[in-house]
């Protein structure tokens, strides 16, 4: 196993463990921090897959800004944690776990086909693949319309969030 593959599998283990912490821990703040760690492991995946700009943007935007927002809300609302246990029916638990296992089994079933068609993980990519120049050129030429629409979407989301977060003005 090459060092890169070893690193990939180590990172995959950490990603799965931190995702498990997110959905199992009682305390919402610890869940949020596990999610930050998870986002950083996904950023490491991106860098391993030659998407260096996307990896660092993942850390700056997702782990560095969105999750700070989550933490603010959790700390201000201070909800009482209850974890996965509690009033949850057995049917709900079994159906959910069953569906998740079906999903993973489905992927395992198509894996051999993927190993044959993409032997070795694909061809060598051109120099500068995933660097900011390539992404910038694609963003402002082929993907110009989605780019502009995304900016409108973010503006709308900002206005919506501001409006919904406002306190009622009591007459």
């Amino acid at each position: 196993m090459t060092p890169r593959e070893l690193f990939f599998w180590a990172d995959a283990v950490v990603a799965v463990l931190t995702a498990g912490m997110v959905l199992l821990h009682r305390n919402a703040v610890v869940c949020a921090l596990s999610l930050v760690m998870h986002l950083c492991t996904v950023a490491v995946f991106f860098v391993l897959l030659d998407a260096t700009f996307l990896g660092v943007v993942q850390v700056i935007v997702y782990a560095g800004a969105i999750m700070v927002l989550f933490l603010f809300v959790i700390m201000l609302l201070d909800p009482k944690g209850e974890g996965v246990t509690g009033r949850m029916g057995n049917i709900q638990l079994f159906v959910t776990l069953g569906a998740a296992l079906l999903l993973v089994a489905g992927i395992l079933r198509i894996l051999p086909a993927l190993a044959v068609t993409n032997a070795g993980g694909g061809a060598a990519v051109p120099e500068g693949f995933g660097a900011i120049r390539g992404i910038g050129e694609a963003l402002f030429s082929t993907y110009l319309l989605p780019f502009e629409l995304a900016s409108v979407l973010l503006l709308v989301a900002m206005i919506g969030a501001l409006f919904m977060g406002k306190k009622e003005i009591v007459e």
Partner: protein
């Protein structure tokens, strides 16, 4: 070299864990966080596909997914705050007003 199958396997496992989190947790904030886990699993699949095909389109899509996730997190948190002001709880089992 990392095979695309391995990436899809990891992505699938993470996505399944996100789904389990959404369905089993009662705190609205943790549900939102599990949704973020699902979105990241999808992003991982996109970037893996982009690498194995050699085209930048997968990374572009992941970029836009990130932008949409940011917008969705902001609005979702605003909704949770507004809900908390009304009902003083973030437990989704206790806000089932529309159930018949």
């Amino acid at each position: 070299m990392i095979s695309f199958g391995a990436i899809l396997l990891v992505s699938g496992i993470l996505f399944a864990m996100g789904v389990v989190g959404v369905l089993l947790r009662r705190s609205a904030l943790v549900i939102l966080m599990s949704i973020e886990v699902m979105l990241n699993a999808a992003n991982l699949a996109f970037v893996g596909a982009s690498r194995s095909v050699g085209s930048i389109d997968g990374q572009m899509f992941a970029f836009f997914v990130m932008a949409v996730a940011a917008a969705e997190a902001a609005v979702g948190l605003a909704i949770i705050i507004a809900l908390f002001r009304q009902r003083h709880t973030t437990d989704v089992d206790q806000v089932s007003f529309l159930k018949w």
